[in-house]
Symmetry: C2
Subunit: 288 residues, 2 copies
């Protein structure tokens, strides 16, 4: 697979590692909420996004399978001349970050640690709820990450398998979705949580509904947003911030790859991203 960025015209006098794109991957569409926050917070950065739409969802799969899939994706992203990797999927962050970091040979950021750090900071009563896929909740990754900061914090996990299909059906402002959300959130609220981590990349798209249901006193932590901030800090520390502006006639700074169904992906991407997305390209990810 060629490196499309390597063939692009030089954007400044000297092309450095800092000019290289950031690799972002997810099990499918949801990670676009992370890409969105990176675009907003780091408008100078190029992005190569991979969505594993052929094998989505990851949330009900085993660690072994998710590690294998994540490794294949890292091998593909490395062909794109990237400078860092963001795992924009809670399940893959929870289950495969160590293996991805070992494979990558470059800085790797997942969504779990930044989300955990902010939740530990904002909770006042030390009662945090985490909603996510079965795999994310069962692995206890958020619990470990929060307890590493403050072992006295009480964390309650709630798997919410119906929420991703509801978002993908487009029922984000819907009475039925509200009812299902209340069923999932009731237990957390009864336990008196004052902070809820939106532990799946689809859930920020339900943020308004969740806010309405839980009221103004519960903090909602969006790991996608926190991850973009963490990425900004890390790039700064390592001298990897892209300082060459994206010029008007420069090649489009965002590339999108998927393992299946680029049409549906492109539609969804255009519905949530602040930029026009050209058609995503298909990658035979099993061959990596």
């Amino acid at each position: 697979m060629e490196n499309e960025f390597a063939n692009a015209p030089a954007r400044s006098d000297k092309t450095t590692l800092a000019d290289a794109p950031i690799g972002v991957f997810d099990s499918g569409l949801g990670g676009l909420t992370v890409a969105r926050e990176i675009m907003r917070n780091l408008p100078g950065e190029r992005i190569v996004y991979f969505g594993d739409t052929a094998r989505v969802p990851y949330g009900n799969k085993s660690k072994q399978t998710i590690v294998r899939y994540s490794r294949q994706i890292v091998r593909f992203l490395k062909t794109q001349g990237i400078k860092a990797i963001v795992i924009a999927c809670n399940t893959a962050s929870a289950l495969a970050i160590d293996e991805v970091a070992a494979e990558a040979g470059m800085p790797v950021i997942g969504v779990v640690e930044p989300g955990a750090r902010v939740a530990a900071k904002v909770t006042r009563n030390k009662n945090i709820g985490v909603i996510g896929t079965k795999a994310t909740v069962q692995t206890g990754a958020y619990i470990r990450a929060i307890h590493a900061i403050d072992p006295d914090i009480n964390i309650i996990g709630q798997a919410c398998p119906i929420l991703v299909p509801l978002v993908e059906e487009g029922w984000t402002h819907d009475r039925i979705t509200d009812e299902i959300l209340m069923r999932y959130l009731d237990d957390l609220l009864e336990h008196g949580v004052d902070t809820i981590i939106l532990g799946c990349t689809h859930y920020p798209l339900l943020r308004n509904a969740i806010r309405r249901l839980v009221g103004p006193d519960v903090s909602l932590v969006n790991p996608a947003y926190e991850t973009a901030l963490e990425l900004e800090r890390m790039l700064g520390q390592k001298g990897l911030v892209n300082t060459s502006p994206i010029e008007k006639d420069a090649p489009y700074p965002y590339k999108f790859y998927v393992s299946d169904d680029p049409v549906r992906f492109t539609e969804f991407a255009n519905s949530i991203l602040p930029v026009d997305v050209k058609k995503a390209k298909i990658v035979a990810i099993e061959e990596y």
Copy 2:
């Protein structure tokens, strides 16, 4: 992969092709409703079931991907010394039956044709509704199969992407599921359908709820049941009926393989099958 049946003790004086098992495959758990009907209607038949739990669901994937996955599964099933293949997945039946038949070199039955045939027979007002995954509905496979029998029949498709997650969450008797079902079924009922095809293998598990909502005058066609009857006819015609009884001390007549998470699969299988299911085994299906 060894053929476990070939190593089993002979069940009669002469082991013939008729004694061989039937290969049944699905994208995951849903095809167990087809296996259940085969077990009930053909108690003398051995079954090798493969559920592609690592890559489930198929319903939102492209034809190209589903054909590739189906071919890998057929190559695996053929290592098991089978005599026929049942595609127990509406999406794979709709999108890949020709390719599977070409690869198999043995009789292949999908669930679409048997379901279409019965629906065409039972409709009185020639208005049929089909509910299924996006892929199944978009492909128009049921429309083509019904029109081949009677081009005057009017068919209305309705994709119902939330139903599979609801069944897998166990909410089969639930007010929320009833509400979602009504939203999906309303349009079909307004069009005056008198017959509805349950065009996804999970849906028979919602049959009671659907029956209650549509009333007694709408015929519900379960392709799983019709497929078992079709299989019985086909085996009879080709002299492939297994006439050697399953003896008490014979090896367990049903084998279950999955591509991921055998524990969850085995739990689900035990909740819907009339037999005790031993732990399913994992197959590295990408290697076939």
